[in-house]
Amino acid sequence: MDFITSLFPWITNGPLVLVQVMSGLSVGMFLFLVSVGMSLIFGVTRIVNLAHGSFYMVSAYLMVTLIEVMPEHPVSFWIALLLAPVGVGILGGVIEVTLLRRIYRRDPMMQLILTFGLILVIGTLVLLVWGPDNKSVPRPDALAGSVRIFGQPFPSYYLLVLGLSPLVAVGLWLLFYRTRWGMLVRAATVDREMLGALGVDVSKLYTEVFVFGSWLAGLGGALAAPTVAVALGMDGDVLINAFVVVVIGGLGSFAGSLISALLVGELQSFGILIFPAVSIVLLFAIMAVVLIVRPWGLLGHPEE
């Protein structure tokens, strides 16, 4: 034990360990929000949507605009938080109907090229509409400060994230396991031909799933907006994180996304205490280990 404490003097500092756990949780919850939609879209449509990060970015920019146009009032932030993801959901729907619908039967390479092209197009449109300057969304006053947890300061805004994410997780579970729509979505992930043969309008279902997945990306972006700079390049940073989380958890598995996001968040949080230079490789190291042991991810299913 003495050997361990000499290596990691912070181990005996209970409050610090707890705060690092909390901060790892909040990092993980953000990751879950941005990755679960990507996983859902893949599970049903078999498309790896590289534009997922772009939807996240557009939502953050919508937050900027909505808060600018609305009067300065505590409630404005919450209205923006509701509207921005809806806007992104609509955008996702339009993109699915006009573009993605045409390539479901094509080979996966084509799908990657198309969604990669979307990254460039959306990125350029954002530059044209909002300009190149960094933007910022202030936190609502009620959540601007911090609360004391075990005597340590913890940002109140993260409590919102920590509270909302489990609600999203539970909501998703209810949706998929307690509603007819959820049952159809799950069926579509297993055998879409059979579902079509049974008279279900599969293409409508795909659009709905894509809208829903985009809305989730939008929710992640809108929630993250006050904690980061709203700037070009957000799309790429988030996409990489989301993609890695999805791969670790298993493509198409929601529980996998959740477990993997929390795992990455906590390992990140403690990794930097133990070895500060680790963070740059940590995410990919975890991914490599998981892929070597289980190539289809923690809770994914091997393809037949």
Partner: protein, 425 residues
């Protein structure tokens, strides 16, 4: 495009008439074959926050130079290419500019990796390259050669200003947070070496190396708070530093551990932060709004007005003066001056001028193009972040430094080059 004889004759007549008529109207307008400079930079995506103002500053200076008669009576012309932040794209563009566009010189760069890649190509192709916007000191020092010149300050000057300010405080225990790549490592090393030199009793108690583009710094912030450091240095910049400051705010990090950073003082970072700006942080800035600086540099006010009008007319969403704009502006003038002094666009003659060195006055002070390394030594402004009027943060108590008083000497540069050559063997 084929030109038949009739068009050629008509064109010649038109041209002579217009020259005859136009000559008294614009006696000094540059004529003759343009001097062409291939300018490679990142004009899409993340870097546009810096490169758009830079490009406008460059264009404004080019127009001024050409309206005043050009260089050697010839107009200056920049041909822009987008490198998409990729060194290989940049080299491809450089090759195309040299071989097909037949440009006289190369210029540009925002990321250090791109700058080093173009510099290596320039050395092989024996084309003179003016690095204008990236900051790594390896460009003209460790990896320096006669075919590269650097028209803006480098990491060394930038980091040393902050270190000089830091040495004035009684802090002994230091931590830092720097992005884990070339620039971040370079900046931290330069800062720490100089602070240690000024104050031998300082020590590093904790280090943080987030990856470039990290979105959540909470874990680093709690680690910083627990480290026992009295002050910390940040090598973060742009959107990532804004995110870091916003995330540090609820922890009151900046109130507990004194914050030193070269980048936060630039308007690109400070303006978006607004009320959330880290009051008390020690930083560098481009002080276009500071009354004291404007008093000491009377031409600065006029330049601000000129640039703002120019940026408005050219559709910039934020027409305020920016550091990048001043760099673009200065770069165009420095390139023009080098050619003027050489009285020729011949590469070797222009290099001869650069290797001798020269000085130029700008609205914000004197820029020295040093001969031994063809490196710009520029004015530096350091200060402290304060809340200005209407919740608009500013950098106040501006102290002016000049690069020449802090930058590494020619002897030190020679040593760096020798060490780098030794390594290559």
């Amino acid at each position: 495009m084929r030109i038949d004889r009739r068009t050629a004759i008509a064109g010649t007549i038109l041209l002579s008439v217009s020259l005859a008529l136009g000559a008294p109207l614009a006696p000094t307008r540059a004529q003759g074959k343009p001097i062409r400079i291939g300018e490679i930079n990142s004009y899409s995506g993340v870097a546009t926050v810096f490169t758009f103002p830079y490009k406008e500053g460059l264009a404004m200076a080019t127009k001024e130079i050409n309206d005043a008669g050009g260089v050697l009576g010839r107009p200056l012309e920049f041909i822009h290419r987008d490198d998409k932040l990729k060194p290989d794209e940049a080299v491809k563009a450089a090759r195309e500019l040299v071989l097909q566009e037949k440009v006289d010189f190369l210029a540009g760069c925002i990321t250090s990796a791109v700058g080093l890649a173009i510099s290596a190509y320039a050395k092989d192709a024996k084309v003179l390259y003016f690095a204008t916007h990236c900051q790594t000191s390896r460009l003209t020092w460790d990896e320096g050669h006669r075919y590269v010149a650097h028209t803006t300050n480098n990491v060394n000057q930038y980091a040393r200003v902050v270190a000089k300010k830091a040495a004035a405080f009684p802090y002994k225990k230091w931590a830092h947070i720097s992005p884990d790549y070339e620039y971040g490592q370079n900046l931290w090393e330069e800062f720490w070496a100089y602070l240690k030199h000024l104050k031998p009793d300082v020590q590093v108690v904790q280090q943080n190396w987030p990856k470039l583009g990290e979105t959540d710094h909470s874990s680093y912030i709690t680690a910083l708070l627990q480290s026992g450091a009295e002050a910390f240095f940040s090598g973060l910049w742009g959107a990532q530093e804004i995110a870091f400051v916003k995330q540090a705010r609820p922890f009151a990090l900046v109130e507990k551990v004194h914050y030193f950073t070269p980048a936060i003082g630039t308007p690109d970072e400070l303006d978006p932060l607004g009320k959330e700006a880290p009051v008390g942080a020690i930083t560098t800035t481009f002080p276009w709004y500071d009354e004291g600086v404007l008093k000491r540099h009377p031409k600065f006010t006029e330049w601000n007005k000129k640039y703002t009008e120019w940026a408005k007319a050219h559709g910039m969403k934020d027409p305020q003066p920016k550091l990048g704009a001043s760099w673009g502006y200065a770069s165009a003038y420095i390139i023009a001056e080098a050619i003027k002094r050489a009285k020729s666009t011949d590469t070797d003659k222009v290099i001869a001028v650069l290797s001798e060195g020269f000085e130029m006055e700008f609205p914000w002070g004197k820029v020295i193009m040093r001969g031994c390394d063809q490196q710009a030594i520029a004015p530096q402004f350091g200060g402290v972040v304060k809340m200005g009027k209407e919740g608009k943060p500013i950098v106040a108590d501006i102290e002016e430094f000049h690069g020449k008083d802090i930058v590494k000497s020619c002897d030190e540069v020679a040593k760096l080059r020798a060490a780098a050559a030794e390594k290559k063997k």
